[in-house]
């Protein structure tokens, strides 16, 4: 078997002898976390087990909710089944989530359920699924929620229709919602694509704050969730959540958001020694930093607030360094091969500005050779900028090795030689013209002045063109964080 075989589900590299041909990582995950929809436990052998859950049919449910018209069954997951219903009085559609009847017997389940309802009811935000009501009817616990006509993010990711621009919009909205919830003291703790709904207008709505922990209630937290009980879905869990420690705060959501973000951009999960998104698909390399900083194993190194993620994403959206490229399925789509913006800046700063300076300040004649030389130089620089953009970027490396430094150094080198070249070419003419005043004809001073002038031009143009500009921005926004493990 090929050594680089990857698991199609989690993207992890498979060992040469996977047990029964299955991905070991997924097997471990399957052994720990129940990801199965409860409705499937409904018959046959499963019926032997008292705790398995039959989703009641619409007919069974209707008598329990006289105030609602139950329309259809939508789906079941995690800890309940969801139905579409109508409130005739208000003439609006709602979603009704009900819990398995059996769990009502367990007081801790009931407590957890009412906690979910209260946590949700506190939240009122356009990007959070609103809760209208909750309670129990004949021992059946239910939540009445805003009905979202759309799909969940999992479907969208699978369909491969998500472009990076839309991913960024979704992330911004999730950040808004999370920031709001975190400010209210509510941590979601189970952010995953299944819990992010997209309505028809592509608005993102976070659902199921069911596992959320109210920071204000830390007192009885332990009794509610069990010390080591691993909650949420494994792949999206922050490391501190996996360890089952009590120090799980809102930054765990930021980690999960990072996983979702990575998955939206690349179509894969960031498992083990994963590569930065820009190595998997073509996208703005600045996104790597955002994603990887969200995915820091140490909460302290992560973004501390959801808003910060949004700010950085917004910065990238507002100042695109490169173009919009595809997300999950990038196959067949290539970036425009020539970075036109680089070409523009180089042409202005590299040809017109130097020639203008040479002509106006140094009072020199401009020869066709000068123009040709500078134009060739600009072409070379543009090409180099292109190489720069294609250069794989890995934030895990040290600052020296993670970049191709040629494009940064090239303008300096180029202008140095052009400076010398210009000077040498015009020295003779200079002497001929101003032979009467030899005191001014100090070749060395001229040469130095040329080089200094052109170096300033090089710095100016680099600062206004992205490679170094990027680096400076990164440097300002904090030291490059290294990923561990």
């Amino acid at each position: 078997m090929d050594e680089t075989t990857k698991c199609p589900r989690c993207g992890a590299r498979l060992p040469v002898d996977p047990p029964s041909g299955l991905c070991p990582r997924c097997l471990v995950a399957a052994g720990v976390v129940s990801g199965e929809p409860t409705k499937s436990c409904g018959d046959g052998a499963a019926a032997k087990q008292p705790s398995s859950f039959n989703s009641p049919s619409v007919e069974e449910l209707s008598p329990l909710f006289p105030q609602l018209e139950i329309i259809e069954f939508l789906g079941a997951g995690g800890m309940g089944a969801v139905y579409k219903a109508r409130q005739p009085g208000l003439d609006r559609l709602v979603a009704v989530k009900i819990l398995p009847r059996e769990v009502g017997d367990d007081p801790s389940f009931a407590e957890r359920f009412s906690r979910e309802a209260r946590a949700l009811a506190r939240l009122s935000h356009p990007n959070i699924v609103a809760i209208h009501d909750f309670g129990s009817s004949e021992g059946l616990y239910f939540l009445v929620m805003e009905f979202i006509d759309g799909v969940n993010l999992r479907h969208t990711i699978r369909s491969g229709e998500l472009r990076s621009k839309e991913s960024l919009a979704v992330v911004s909205q999730i950040c808004d919602a999370l920031q709001y919830a975190h400010d209210e003291g509510v941590v979601h703790r189970d952010i995953k694509p299944e819990n992010i709904l997209l309505d028809k207008k592509s608005r993102a709505k976070i659902a199921d704050f069911g596992l959320s922990k109210l920071l204000g209630e830390t007192g009885n937290e332990a009794t509610l969730t069990g010390t080591h009980q691993v909650m949420g879905t494994l792949h999206y869990m922050a490391p501190e959540q996996m360890k089952g420690t009590h120090n799980v705060d809102h930054r765990a959501d930021i980690y999960s958001l990072g996983v979702v973000f990575y998955e939206m951009l690349t179509g894969e999960l960031p498992m083990g020694r994963f590569e930065p998104p820009s190595r998997r698909v073509q996208l703005d390399i600045r996104l790597d930093e955002v994603v990887l900083r969200s995915l820091e194993r140490e909460p302290d190194k992560r973004y501390q607030q959801a808003n910060d993620v949004k700010t950085d994403v917004g910065e990238i959206v507002d100042h695109p360094a490169s173009c919009d490229r595809s997300a999950a399925d990038d196959s067949g789509r290539l970036a425009p091969w020539l970075p036109w913006n680089a070409f523009g800046v180089y042409a202005v700063c590299g040809v017109f500005l130097p020639l203008f300076l040479v002509h106006q300040i140094l009072q020199r004649q401009i020869s066709p050779t000068n123009v040709l030389g500078l134009a060739i130089g600009v072409s070379v620089l543009t090409l180099v900028a292109w190489i720069w953009e294609r250069w794989p970027y890995d934030p895990a490396l040290s600052w020296r090795s993670k970049r191709n430094w040629t494009p940064v150094l090239a303008p300096f080198a180029m202008f140095f030689f052009i400076g010398v070249f210009l000077d040498r070419e015009s020295v003779a003419a200079w002497y001929r013209i101003s032979a009467s005043s030899p005191a001014e004809a100090d070749g060395l001073t001229q040469r130095i002045a040329n080089v200094v002038l052109l170096f300033s031009a090089a710095i100016f143009m680099i600062v206004h063109r992205h490679p170094l500009h990027d680096a400076i921005r990164r440097w300002r926004s904090g030291p490059t964080s290294k990923r561990s493990g």
Binding site: V16, A30, E36
Partner: protein, 259 residues
């Protein structure tokens, strides 16, 4: 002896209490806790339990020794010697109950064994260790050849191999169980459902091969997955001296596979 709480899931699809008890009795006979509480391998039951565990987890030890020692034949001899030493000497008494995991015990014992062996005259002719377990070194060696060589310490290699051996054991138990129930073909067709939700098309294909509907295939897949989870937890539990360590051990396994 066993408190069965860790076996009981807290979600809707948890195995029933009777299931858990059945599992417990099934595994109690080969439980590591049995060896630890016996304190020695003099008792036949304890010895059998230990041998059984070693038979499942020998390859991780071989990979560890092989990485430490380097030479193939020496590693094979040492592995065999280590297991005979383990099964015949009274080393179990040294197993500290507080660190009562078979995994850590095995690794520590192996480390000590190797350093003792090194101190003993190297000149001493090796070989001739009485084979107490039948270990398939030929297949072990060919597997070892495929181990990734890059930046994996012997300990890490051991841990990874441990988890893989555990998964293999769980799957094998599941397979045997299904075959015995006359559902061997179900296992083959539906095993991809264990690692997560297969797509509707996969279920439809499996259903066709089994002559059942896609819905029935899906349900069978979920039942298989659930049974897998029970066996997984039971197998992890089997290598622990104390059930309270189950969650912690699972956390370790997650971390091993997460890197």
């Amino acid at each position: 002896m066993l408190i069965m709480d860790p076996l009981l899931d807290r979600d809707a699809c948890s195995p029933s209490a009777s299931d858990a008890h059945r599992l417990a009795s099934e595994f109690a006979t080969t439980h590591w806790s049995l060896v630890v509480s016996a304190g020695s391998v003099d008792e036949p039951a304890a010895r059998r339990a230990l041998a059984d565990l070693c038979q499942v987890y020998w390859y991780p030890i071989y990979a560890y020794v092989r990485r430490r020692v380097g030479a193939r034949h020496e590693a094979q001899d040492l592995t065999q010697e280590f297991f005979s030493y383990l099964l015949e000497k009274h080393t179990i008494a040294q197993a500290d109950r507080s660190r009562g995991r078979f995994r850590s015990f095995l690794l520590t014992a192996c480390k000590n064994f190797l350093s003792n062996q090194r101190e003993k005259a190297r000149a001493e002719k090796r070989g001739g260790a009485k084979a107490v377990l039948s270990l398939d070194f030929a297949s072990g060696e060919s597997r070892y050849q495929f181990e990734p060589s890059e930046n994996l310490t012997a300990e890490k290699l051991f841990e990874r191999r441990w988890v893989l051996a555990l998964l293999e054991e769980v799957l094998e138990r599941l397979r045997v169980e299904q075959v015995e129930a006359g559902r061997g073909i179900h296992f083959e067709q539906l095993k991809t459902a264990i690692t997560g939700e297969a797509t509707a098309a996969e279920y439809a294909n499996a259903g066709r091969a089994l002559g059942i509907s896609a819905t029935a295939a899906k349900q069978a897949g979920h039942r298989l997955r659930k049974r897998y989870r029970q066996l997984f937890r039971a197998e992890v539990l089997r290598s622990l001296a104390d059930e309270s360590e189950l969650d912690d051990e699972i956390g370790t396994i997650l971390e091993v596979m997460g890197d």
